[in-house]
């Protein structure tokens, strides 16, 4: 009877799991965004100091509970050599967060090229994309209209999927909660990518 009742409990209370990729060039602030998300949404989480975050080699994994959904963040390394690994994760993800460094005007075209590859991938068809213009706390940063202008070539490739451009600062946490809540709404609504089915044992 214990097996029956504990399984029933898990069946009623388990949350849907969604995998979210965090992509972007190196030094755009992906891991800082992940740390800020974990700090914001997990009550007892004591994150590492944001100033100690270094270059990601491989990936970081974080889990966040938002309402009825559980988000599993896969924070992938953004260096040139590591970008070839991104497409290995496309088939299993439910959403993509693309982080742009608003203060790095020189590499904006490079970021646009990487974004174009992400958006053009067939494996990401229909997957909602949240574009974060990070480091908005810096005085000299580019504004959202400027970034949208720079990325206007990619607009036709986005197609019929959900897309939102959000100003944010991973350091201060501004815009992080709004972005994630929008992403949760989109992945829950997306019927083409059902949540991961974890077997109850």
């Amino acid at each position: 009877m214990y097996t029956l009742l504990s399984g029933l409990y898990k069946y009623m209370f388990q949350k849907d799991e969604y995998c979210i990729l965090i992509l972007g060039l190196d030094n755009a602030g992906k891991t800082t965004f992940l740390e800020q998300s974990k700090t914001r949404f997990n009550k007892n989480y004591k994150g590492m100091s944001l100033s100690k975050i270094t270059t990601t080699v491989g990936l970081n994994i974080g889990t966040v509970d938002v309402g009825k959904a559980r988000l599993m963040f896969w924070d992938l390394g953004g260096q040139e050599e590591l970008q070839s690994l991104w497409d290995k994760y496309y088939a299993e993800c439910h959403g993509v967060i693309y982080v742009i460094d608003s203060t790095d005007e020189e590499r904006l075209s490079e970021s646009k090229e990487a974004f174009e590859k992400v958006v053009s991938s067939e494996a990401l068809d229909g997957v909602p994309i949240l574009v974060l213009a990070n480091k908005q706390d810096v005085e000299t940063c580019l504004s959202i209209p400027d970034i949208k202008t720079a990325f206007s070539d990619c607009t036709c490739k986005i197609g019929r999927r959900d897309c939102l451009t959000q100003a944010c600062s991973a350091l201060t946490g501004k815009g992080v909660r709004e972005g994630i809540e929008w992403m949760v709404k989109c992945v829950v609504r997306n019927v083409h990518r059902p949540p991961r089915q974890r077997d109850i044992t």
């Binding site: 009877m1 214990y2 097996t3 029956l4 399984g7 029933l8 898990k10 069946y11 077997d199 109850i200 044992t201």
Partner: protein, 156 residues
């Protein structure tokens, strides 16, 4: 239960069926044991022997016969665990479930919660016997070698 190797997915219908089946095995074999023991000593069988908590005891012959039947029943129900549950770690779970329903049955039958210490001791011994023997038998089955091919080994 899926047929794959070590696959185990929570299946409420299967678990409910197993609970009902184990209860059937429990009362079926208990009935057989009581009938056999009663036939040996030429006394008439009665539902009191199953459900009356007061009747169990060392002092009276019917009490001793019932106790013996319960203990023997634990052994046969261990075989039931082996054939119908087949998983060692679930034996204790199903054993306690069976005896819990028996407790409810005794309660309903007598309209009185079983308070005789002897009854509780007998149930505890039966739970221990049934769970331990059942788990041992299941584990022995689970630890058998898995044949990978029917072809005989080649002498290289």
């Amino acid at each position: 239960m899926a047929g794959q190797f070590r696959s185990y997915v929570w299946d409420p219908l299967l678990i409910l069926s197993q609970i009902v089946l184990m209860q059937t095995v429990y009362y079926g074999s208990l009935g057989l044991w009581l009938a056999l023991v009663d036939a040996l000593v030429r006394s008439s069988p009665s539902l009191d022997q199953m459900f009356d908590a007061e009747i169990l005891g060392f002092s009276t012959p019917p009490g001793r016969l019932s106790m013996m039947s319960f203990v023997l029943n634990a052994l046969t129900c261990a075989l039931g665990l082996l054939y119908f549950i087949r998983r060692g770690k679930q034996c204790l779970d199903f054993t306690v479930t069976v005896h819990f329903f028996h407790l409810l049955g005794c309660w309903l039958y007598s309209s009185r919660f079983p308070s005789a210490l002897t009854w509780w001791l007998v149930q505890a011994v039966c739970i221990a016997l049934m769970a331990v023997i059942g788990e041992y038998l299941c584990m022995r089955t689970e630890l058998k070698e898995i044949p990978l091919s029917s072809a005989p080994k080649s002498n290289v």
